[in-house]
Symmetry: C2
Subunit: 183 residues, 2 copies
Amino acid sequence: MALRQAVLAALLEGEASGYQLAKRFDVSVSNFWSATPQQLYRELDRLEQDGMIEGRVVEQQGRPNKRVFTLTTAGRDHLHAFTAQPSKPTAIRDDLLVKIQAFDSTDQDAIRKQLLIRLEQARQKLTLYDKLRDDLLAGQAEDTYLRTADRIGPYLTLIGGRMFEQQNIAWCTTVLELLDQRA
Amino acid sequence: MALRQAVLAALLEGEASGYQLAKRFDVSVSNFWSATPQQLYRELDRLEQDGMIEGRVVEQQGRPNKRVFTLTTAGRDHLHAFTAQPSKPTAIRDDLLVKIQAFDSTDQDAIRKQLLIRLEQARQKLTLYDKLRDDLLAGQAEDTYLRTADRIGPYLTLIGGRMFEQQNIAWCTTVLELLDQRA
DNA sequence: TCACACATGTAACACGTTACATGATTTG
DNA sequence: CAAATCATGTAACGTGTTACATGTGTGA
């Protein structure tokens, strides 16, 4: 049950509607917690019922109204308490790795293609993260940023995402080379 | 729905009981697909009903009998078809990263401790994977192994696991350093 | 005019987690 | 003598996924 806390943590960035949260999850939170829009809408309803967030309706012209949510004190307290608890090990679930485990019983060309796709996706994510990092730093050196920034949490997870994608690129490249050696 | 295929892929290593599969998932499969014993027992029942695996009871003395499962042709066919499908992006779910996203609203010493624990766990996993790799290679050079081995899938995912843990170690170390700079 | 972005939601189902239950044997 | 290992299972609950539904505004 950390979807709850991931939502609270995402709201530390500022108030958001379900739709906006879904985007936020898509671009940055998904490095460490993946969730679909439907999960978010459901969780937002529960969090509101439990008094961890507060929603207010923002009326818009031409667009559907939106419900925008803000953390309450109870929400912040809950998040604080959560972060002091011991962490569970990372749960990874990766389709492609299952296929590669079964590599020798597969259509090996199909696997190679999927590796190339994964490699390209990782490169694109890395480019995105580099851009986000530049935006966060806003021209400052890293150590200046770390000493002066209001919040460094999002920077630290971003660095994690970058390293993860770099590792992904390295792994895809290595496997493609090893497959060439095999053939 | 790739638990199903992860189980089939794990059975490529040879027949296993639910209990043995759980161990197999624990030591190696968990790099790319995590599952609890209860999930495995349930999935094995379904796979048997669907004719993808076949179970036979092995009687033992002093221990409870066990049901050992083997892939059927239908199971192999299903796995083969699955591997040709496009893959979904990796789903990561990591408690600790949620906490680090919220870092600035946390008990920061507690986070530091959790980072140290995670670092130690990653080091231990890396040691384990290095050992497993040595066992697989059995003294051969990598390129010899790749050309002559029956199955290279498990080797490729093992390499993935090793790289993942190396990256984990690097990330934990980096974050701990950045936190020192902040303080 | 077709697709995409905005914005939310329901319903059904599949999957994952946790707690509990049982009971013999081996290892420290 | 206690704890861990072997071995399986039920039940309840919580989370995650998929499909569908609705309707306006904007840009190619």
